[in-house]
Structure formats: structure tokens, C-alpha cells
Subunit: 194 residues, 2 copies
Amino acid sequence: MNNQALSSKKAQIFQISTQLFRKKSYTGTSMQDIAGAMGIKPASLYNHINSKQEILIELLLHGAGLFVDGMNEIRASQLTDLQKLERLIALHLRITVDNTDLMALIAVEWRHLEGDGMREYLKLRNAYENDFRIILKDAMDAGQIHQMDVEIAFFSILTTLKWFYSWYDKHSNLSLIDLEEYLKKLLLGGLKIS
Amino acid sequence: MNNQALSSKKAQIFQISTQLFRKKSYTGTSMQDIAGAMGIKPASLYNHINSKQEILIELLLHGAGLFVDGMNEIRASQLTDLQKLERLIALHLRITVDNTDLMALIAVEWRHLEGDGMREYLKLRNAYENDFRIILKDAMDAGQIHQMDVEIAFFSILTTLKWFYSWYDKHSNLSLIDLEEYLKKLLLGGLKIS
DNA sequence: GTCTATATTTTGATAGAC
DNA sequence: GTCTATCAAAATATAGAC
């Protein structure tokens, strides 16, 4: 569910916070909850982090980084735009499988970010979404997928990918290959020009 | 966004709480927030409701009731199972359009229910989902849609419908008829036997 | 039906001993 | 690095005057 290293206490705080924030929400999780799950006292947490908000920021910026890095790799490639779209779907799938709890924070808990943390997060998210939109539009302009309203196609695909984690929870027994084929067919099947 | 009557103060509390719970989450919304949005003091709220948790319970049981009532109407009809599936999609769409904020609570905030409230809510939700699953299975057995894993098809359809409200937010300009056709094609297009 | 005043808990966070 | 002790603020909720 979550591959974050357990080596340091700080990493352990992040891992447990991810689980708790998903289960009880950011505002519904107390420092007491986090410390209790680690077997220490709340005050001890502050030797590793400066505030509860800082935990949320680090988790979400880490998550956003996974998407931005994957996007940059795909953009730098020589693939066709349609192939890039397929890679983006595979990217979402891989990140979701490796960080299911974190995806819940990306889908729901980001709204509890404050100030600069929120601004920085939204900057990364907007950059990613814009890159995604451009690839979709280019694939359309190149005649690789059917001509249609870019915004509708874009949000339809992204919404499904965004909430896929809640679906994956119940089907983590399926193989990665099957899931990838299923998602590609679901999201691009009606779009591709055969 | 929310058609709840404003006639009584109690109804006004429900309406404002729905908006705030969606925007700031249940645990992130204080009685102060609700009272402040109404222009009264927090203590005054308790003349109309008994607790913050009671607000959440009433909102979610009302929401669950919309689905259960719609399901009962559809089940009582003489439609084919495939037609019933199409009616269920239209039901979700109509409830989402009329109660967009409430759908966010159904998708996310239900986890903050406690005790009997949680048990009663889950009972209604499970009953609805079971009825939905049975109709899907019957449509498959009757040869109206392609044979496939019922659970995968079921969760795939329900997940999309569940998160549709976050998509609808950005496309509330589209006509109901277009949205219904789009959703039916998206969810049943690959399934229907032509 | 709303208010002020208040009780009680819990919250995030800090100081300082060990 | 963890603890105890503590703080200040905010939370839900109640009592009782008006």
C-alpha cells in the first residue's frame, strides 16, 4: 500500500500520517493519534517535524513530484502523442498501486493545505494538468484520436484516474498488466481512431 | 447546487452545513463556522439541533434515502434489466445535479459518522448496492449485456457515478439530456450487446 | 429563539529535565 | 531523542437571563 522507507523516524511519521490522514482525514487526525500509532508521546514528534501542516505539505509535494517527474520523462520521449497518453495512464496506475493511501490525500486532503504550501502544490498540479491537456489536444490535432471537446475528454479521463485508487482498493488482486489494459480500453477505447 | 428548502432555521442549518462540510470537511468545520455563516452565535444552533454529529447523520440519511427511494421505484417497474440500469444512471445524474454538495458528503464525509448513525447509513448503502448488483447480474444473465466479472463491472460503474459530482462541478453548463447520454454511453457503451 | 457566560475536553505546540 | 509539565487557543455543549 505504501512503499515509503521506514529507516528514519521522520519517514515513519510520514508513513503513519498518510494512513491516518486517509482514514480519518487531516483535520480528524490529532498529533496524539500519530504519536500513539508510533508508541511515543505527541511532544516527541516535534523533534522530527515542525508542525502538523508541514507533514501534509511534505506528503502532497512528494506526491505531486511523482507525477511531475513521470510527466517530464514522457514529454522528453520520442513517442507519438497517443503513445504518450497510454504512458500517462500507466504512470497513474503505477503511482496508485505503489502509493494507494497517498492518492487519497491527493484526491481529498489537499484542500487542507495552507498559504505557501497550497500555492506551491497548486502550481505543480496545474503544470501537470496543462501538460496532460496539451498532449491530449496534440493527439487530437494529429488525427490519432477522434475530434471532440478537449475539456470534456480531459476531465473525463483525469477524473477516472484520480478516483481509481478507491476502485483499486477492492481489486488489488488483479495483475498490473490486466489493470493497465483495462484502463487503457476504458479511457481511450472510445477515442482511438482504428 | 442545493435545493433544500430555506423555510425553517433547521433547514438553513442543513443547507449551510452541507456546503461547509464539503468545502472544509466535517472535522474541519466548527459550530462557530456554521453559526457565523448564518449570522448567529454557536449556542443558538442548539435550539434547532442536538449536536454536530446529528447534522451529519440527518444529511447522509436524507441522501441515502434519495437513492433508496429511486431504487425502489425502478425495481417496482416492468422495465427490462438493461432499461433499469439506464434508469439507475439517470437517477444518479439527477440526484447529483440537484444535490452536488450533498454528493461530496456521500463520497467523502460519511466516514465521520459514529455509532448507530454509521450502522444505519451503511445498512442503507449496502441494500442499495446489492440491489444495483443484482440488476446488473440479471441483465448479464438475460444476455442484454456482455458476460464479464460482475464485481469489476459493478464497481467500475458505481465508482464513476460516485465521483461524477466532482466532474459535474466543472461542466454544469452541459444540458441534462447530453449528460445522460454521455454517461450511458461511457458506462454501458462497452457492455451492451448490439 | 438568541444571547452571555461558562464548563469541559481536546487541540497543536513549547520548555526544559533526563 | 523522549519524556513530563504546561500553555494558549479552540472545540462541543449546557445553563439560564432576556
